[in-house]
């Protein structure tokens, strides 16, 4: 496949670069919004570090997984260029598996957030194990806590009669404080650590959710080439290698976005 005389590359690759340009704008708008929301957040409403709420070791593991998948992707292309179709497909399969690993880890991260609750109180309250009095208690619902129901119009949790909470250890470490019973009259708002919890978590779920959808999109394309690639490659290996290169360009971009999302959301 000859490069186009004006663009200097074959048309499919040029098309992918144009698509990636639009993707930079999409994620750029979200990063810009993140800065605006963070700078404008009233004091005390944005966590000091994302790590106060999010799981850094899991995200660091996922960073390594995604970088690994970028390498296996580019290796798939390199082996196809060396006319070794079997090895190329093997690296493509490894990319698919690493992408799946990323999503599985993300699933556990998300699930943990939806089973973790914050109780915002009407007035300051003393909680055993915490210094002074607190206005918010976070933790997991005890097994004997009544089931929560959501309002049908807003989806927010309805005010419960009471909740029984296993509070998180205080910031800076320490043992789990004993279980507390909080009456409904003391509760201003109750939320899991989903997007409704705060502007920070809404931003986190929007950005990582959109990134996760890009991973799913990439897996669909990689899965398609895993299923059909060997036959395609035996007919026209050069064209197949080009398709894998284009898929790789998209995949490396998805990796690149995560390289910025990880420090911005988790560490800063």
């Amino acid at each position: 496949m000859e490069p186009h005389p004006i663009t200097g590359m074959y048309n499919g690759k040029f098309g992918i670069w144009l698509f990636l340009a639009s993707e930079v704008m999409l994620f750029g708008a979200l990063f810009s919004t993140y800065i605006l929301l963070r700078v404008g957040a009233p004091e005390g409403t944005w966590p000091q570090h994302g790590a106060d709420i999010l799981n850094v070791p899991l995200a660091a593991f996922n960073t390594v997984v995604l970088i690994g998948s970028s390498v296996t992707m580019v290796m798939a292309w390199a082996y196809l260029k060396m006319k070794r179709i079997g090895m190329g497909q093997l690296f493509l399969a490894a990319t698919f598996l690493l992408a799946g690993t990323f999503l599985v880890v993300k699933y556990f991260e998300y699930t943990e957030k939806f089973h973790h609750y914050a109780v915002f109180l009407n007035a300051r309250m003393a909680v055993e194990g915490y210094e002074g009095q607190v206005t918010t208690i976070s933790g997991h619902l005890a097994a004997d806590s009544p089931a929560l129901t959501r309002a049908s119009n807003t989806g927010a949790y309805q005010a419960p009669e009471f909740v029984i909470l296993e509070p998180d250890p205080p910031k800076g470490g320490g043992d789990h404080p004993p279980v507390v019973r909080i009456d409904g009259a003391q509760i201003k708002r109750l939320s899991d650590f989903g997007p409704r919890h705060s502007t920070f978590l809404a931003t986190y779920f929007t950005m990582t959710g959109l990134h996760g959808l890009h991973i799913v999109g990439g897996m669909i394309v990689i899965g398609y080439f895993l299923a059909t690639g060997s036959r395609f490659a035996s007919h026209n290996l050069d064209k197949y290698a080009n398709r894998i290169e284009c898929t790789g360009l998209y995949w490396h971009f998805v990796d690149l976005v995560w390289i910025f999302l990880f420090p911005v959301l988790y560490l800063l």
Binding site: M9, M25, S32, I35, V64, M82, E245, G248, H252, I259
Partner: protein, 102 residues
């Protein structure tokens, strides 16, 4: 040299570079996480985190996305992306100045 005329030996050289870039990316990921646990002041933490992420991003774009061996029109597109992206990043600053003047 464009990719359609690469020899097997050329590709082997590429593969060695990919493995070096992988090692560099892993080290830089460790640096990102390690620096976080140093609990630097916020300005320094932002600077270090974004600088390391930018180096990692550049490595990915140059070597995995082959930008280092591309020529021609794609750099005009990338230049435009850079300008519009910078404009997007400066929007919050402009908004802040606007409200500060009221």
């Amino acid at each position: 040299m464009s990719h359609h005329e690469m020899s097997v030996e050329d590709v082997r050289k590429h593969v060695r570079v990919y493995l070096l870039v992988l090692a560099a990316l892993m080290v830089l990921t460790a640096v990102t996480v390690g620096v976080f646990y140093l609990h630097l002041p916020i300005a320094a933490a932002v600077l270090v985190a974004l600088a390391v992420a930018s180096v990692k991003g550049t490595l990915v774009a140059c070597y995995f996305m082959h930008l280092i061996s591309e020529r021609g029109l794609v750099f005009w597109i990338l230049g435009l992306i850079a300008i519009f992206f910078a404009a997007l990043m400066f929007l919050p600053v402009l908004t802040d100045m606007d409200s500060a003047g009221v």
